[in-house]
Amino acid sequence: MSDLILEIKNLIIDALDLEDVTPDDIEDEAPLFVDGLGLDSIDALELGVAIKKAYKVKIDGNTEESKKYFYSVKSLHDFVLKAQN
């Protein structure tokens, strides 16, 4: 697991109060929303704020692009990497 992947998993757990979840429980490429981890629309907003705070990158509201970024830990990781470079 790369450092940034682990960091994003911990960010998700902390920002969304996932009390009983550990980074190992979250699969890198599994969907975060509905299926998989089972997050909802409020979590999407919360995660957007947390990502902005941590990495100074802004994900625009409800667009097809943002849905792709939010799909999994891996897609968030790729987005953050790209935005930072």
Binding site: L16, D17, L18, E19, G38, I42, L45, E46, V49, K53
Partner: protein, 242 residues
């Protein structure tokens, strides 16, 4: 005019005083509140919903669910609180002061009717629900609203939930009391079998509330006294046991 009603079930929560037996001992001054807060576990609520509950929400939902025996579906409700979820609101105000982004979850759940909303979603309850705040007399204002709704709308049952948790340190200097208390009352029409009460009011010029209204009510409910007077603005409300 007198309004008759019954209390089918009373559930009260305070730090260290949670069961009916503990409340009776508290009333008899043989048991007191503890300084540690151990929050209700609320295992009935799925973990993904429970994770967003603040201590205030946990105490409110515990009292609501226990008083209504976890009833699902329509049950009219009144929720009342003097301060609401002030611990949550204070964090948001601090974020604003520090020019930080606000947490959407915290923001959405800090409004005064947030807990009643969570309760209605969890119990699939589409009946009318109101949320009340009335300063130091919030407990009685909510109880009066519940009993009046029971009569005017000719309801069989109405759920009344009152909650206040001790306020953040930055506010405690402005208050003369800083209690943590949750009360859930399943109120029902007097045609049923249950513990009967009558509610009446008189207009007074100087009605000053001494003490803590919610705790005064519990002292009356669990004690032997047959009547209890308490003010709301320029009215004095009298509660009498049948």
């Amino acid at each position: 005019m007198e309004l008759a009603f019954q209390i089918a079930k009373c559930v009260a929560w305070a730090p260290g005083v949670e069961t009916e037996q503990e409340w009776c001992l508290w009333q008899a001054e043989k048991h007191d509140f503890s300084s540690d807060i151990s929050l209700p576990a609320l295992k009935a609520i799925p973990a993904m919903q429970r994770r967003r509950l603040s201590p205030f929400a946990k105490v409110s939902l515990h009292c609501a669910l226990e008083a209504s025996d976890h009833r699902q579906g329509d049950l009219p409700c009144v929720f009342s609180s003097r301060h609401g979820d002030l611990n949550r609101t204070t964090k948001l105000i601090e974020n604003v002061a520090a020019k930080e982004d606000l947490s959407p979850t915290q923001f959405g759940l800090s409004v005064h009717n947030a807990v009643s909303g969570l309760y209605s979603i969890y119990t699939k309850n589409q009946a009318p629900i109101s949320a009340i705040a009335s300063g130091k007399t919030s407990f009685m204002a909510g109880l009066v609203d519940s009993v009046v709704k029971l009569h005017v709308n000719q309801l069989d049952h109405i759920l009344y939930v009152y909650t206040d948790l001790s306020v953040p340190d930055c506010y405690s200097g402005y208050l003369d009391t800083n209690e943590s208390i949750g009360i859930g009352l399943l109120i029902q029409a007097s045609a049923f079998q249950g513990e009967g009460f009558k509610l009446s009011s008189a207009t007074t010029n100087h009605a000053v509330l001494m003490g803590i209204q919610s705790l005064d009510f519990l002292n009356f409910y669990y004690g032997d006294a047959i009547s209890w007077n308490t003010p709301v603005n320029k009215q004095t409300w009298t509660l009498t046991k049948n």
